[in-house]
């Protein structure tokens, strides 16, 4: 039985490596900039959703305010860069640390809330963050920050003539979030998180530190999402409060995981691989005329999938009960 378990872990790792290798090779065949753009966003949201999944899927603390950490990552990086000349690579780390600390600071009062009350609190806090940045003159207020273009450079992580570096960074981010999840899944933290999600009282009686489990999940989750935010800021080279901290980011982090299979290792990747191209394609095909046809098509598809497979797309692949854990 232990062998079977170890084999499954190894199989996941091999599948991930193969998928990453295939993804890494796609730019050799895909030269179209529009398609490359979609691929970059898909990888980025897969990574973000995977990170969101740590707190909300594994630990069961549903957050609809992760846009806050995304925005904090973006703002920390760009404020450090434009005001103090700190390279984005360091800004990225700083953004991650700032977000993780804020996530824990917010967790302190909010992790006492359960269920819907917690969800509402996360939405409200993210909206407050958005308002604060809207009114913070030093950080550009509603005008935002334009990142000065100084030519293609790995050091400053900005590229005008090619999207490939962004593509590879998004791939690394996605792989990193996946690997962190894979690694934590079979650790004390992973077990604690799932126990806390399923039944906090029982978890407590088995010696689980429920509060600190949530804090740990929040910190890891916020850190990774902030790194994604930093990346996005560099990628679009202009940020304002709405474009990095808007509610749509919170949704776009949650949806792939929910669609693919919440609290599972592969759910977020699968969900993002379907959802993000769909978002972009419907916008491309039907959008632009202000009629909102793209949103209607997109919304209908999501409703259909959730009606047919309420436990996520991944449930299509899960074998009969014998093997247990849905993955």
């Amino acid at each position: 039985m232990d062998k079977e378990f170890a084999a499954r872990r190894r199989r996941d790792l091999i599948i991930a490596a193969v998928l990453a290798a295939i993804a890494a090779a796609t730019p050799l065949f895909v030269k179209d900039v529009v398609v490359q753009n979609i691929l970059i966003l898909t990888l980025m949201y897969a990574g973000l959703s995977q990170s969101w999944n740590i707190l909300s899927g594994y630990c069961g603390q549903i957050s609809l305010g992760h846009a806050l950490y995304f925005g904090l990552g973006a703002y920390t990086t760009e404020l450090l860069f434009t005001k103090f000349g700190v390279l984005p690579w360091f800004g990225m780390l700083a953004g991650g640390v700032v977000s993780a600390l804020i996530a824990m600071g917010l967790g302190y009062p909010f992790f006492r809330l359960r269920g819907h009350y917690f969800v509402i609190a996360t939405i409200v806090i993210a909206e407050i963050g958005l308002l604060l940045f809207h009114n913070w003159e030093w950080a550009g207020a509603a005008m935002g920050i334009t990142i000065p273009i100084r030519g293609d450079s790995w050091l400053k992580f900005q590229f005008l003539r090619t999207k490939l570096p962004y593509f590879y960074f998004a791939l690394v981010l996605c792989c990193l979030a996946w690997f962190v999840t894979w690694w934590l899944e079979n650790s004390k933290w992973g077990f604690w998180w799932r126990a806390v999600k399923d039944n906090p009282d029982a978890a407590e009686s088995l010696g689980v530190d429920v509060f600190n489990s949530k804090m740990g999940a929040a910190a890891v989750s916020a850190f990774l999402v902030a790194v994604g935010g930093s990346f996005y800021a560099q990628f679009v080279s202009y940020i304002d409060p709405e474009s990095v901290m808007g509610f749509q980011f919170s949704l776009l982090m949650a949806l792939p995981a929910v669609l693919g299979g919440i609290g599972t290792l592969w759910g977020p990747v699968l969900g993002a691989a379907i959802l993000i191209p769909l978002t972009e394609l419907t916008r491309f095909k039907f959008g632009g005329s202000g009629r909102g046809v793209d949103l209607i098509v997109y919304g209908t598809l999501i409703v259909l999938i959730s009606l047919a497979l309420p436990r996520g797309l991944l449930s299509l692949f899960s074998r009969p009960k014998k093997t247990g854990a849905a993955r």
């Binding site: 378990f5 799932r194 039944n199 009686s205 088995l206 854990a325």
Partner: protein, 243 residues
Amino acid sequence: MTALLETRGVWQRFGGLVANSDVSISVGRGEIVGLIGPNGAGKSTLFNLIAGVLPPTQGSILFDGEDVTHMPAAARCQRGVGRTFQVVKSFETMTVIDNVIVGALVRNTVMREARRKAHEVLEFTGLAARADVLASDLVPAEKRRLEVARALATEPKLLLLDEVLTGLTPTEAQTGVALVRKVRDAGITVLMVEHVMEIVMPLVDRAIVLDLGKVLVEGKPAEVVRDPKVIKAYLGDRHAVGA
């Protein structure tokens, strides 16, 4: 030798309701003690005070010579108090083995060790064949067993069983009784809340009867069942006269 568990003058009030008044009991090492009493006697409240769900309004609780009155449940688990829940609280989306691993992680920090320990406990509790099944797919009797397995994985000195034998078929209950004996033989002290008298009485070394929040009678099961006060508490005055 000092008692493993001792409560000293424990009171618990919920607003105007007194659930436990001046309860002093002790449980010796290696004993199986039954905590019985009619509905509303305060058994569950006392049980929760001992498990650390909430601190008592007044009085103190000593475990293994240490004052644990205000210690939270998780810390008590680390000291060696394991418990089950009357209404089963399995981790429903996790497999049976994963449920037990959560408990095993208290004393095993290396995953491989925790997993080995969990398998060992499943073997001991007769759930080994169900290791890879989701907890939500277990039948009720198996869920009870999983509660016990999970608590045993924490390697407790004292195991608190909250009505684990209630609501089972006679055959299932007998298997349960055998398991409790096996647990004691492994050197673990057992305190069990139960109200099915005919199952508990042959099993326990000592019975403590609670009524209206107070300790009514305490002693050997055979004496306790014949005590007029106990008969009165369970069946009313009319029957007590005849006894």
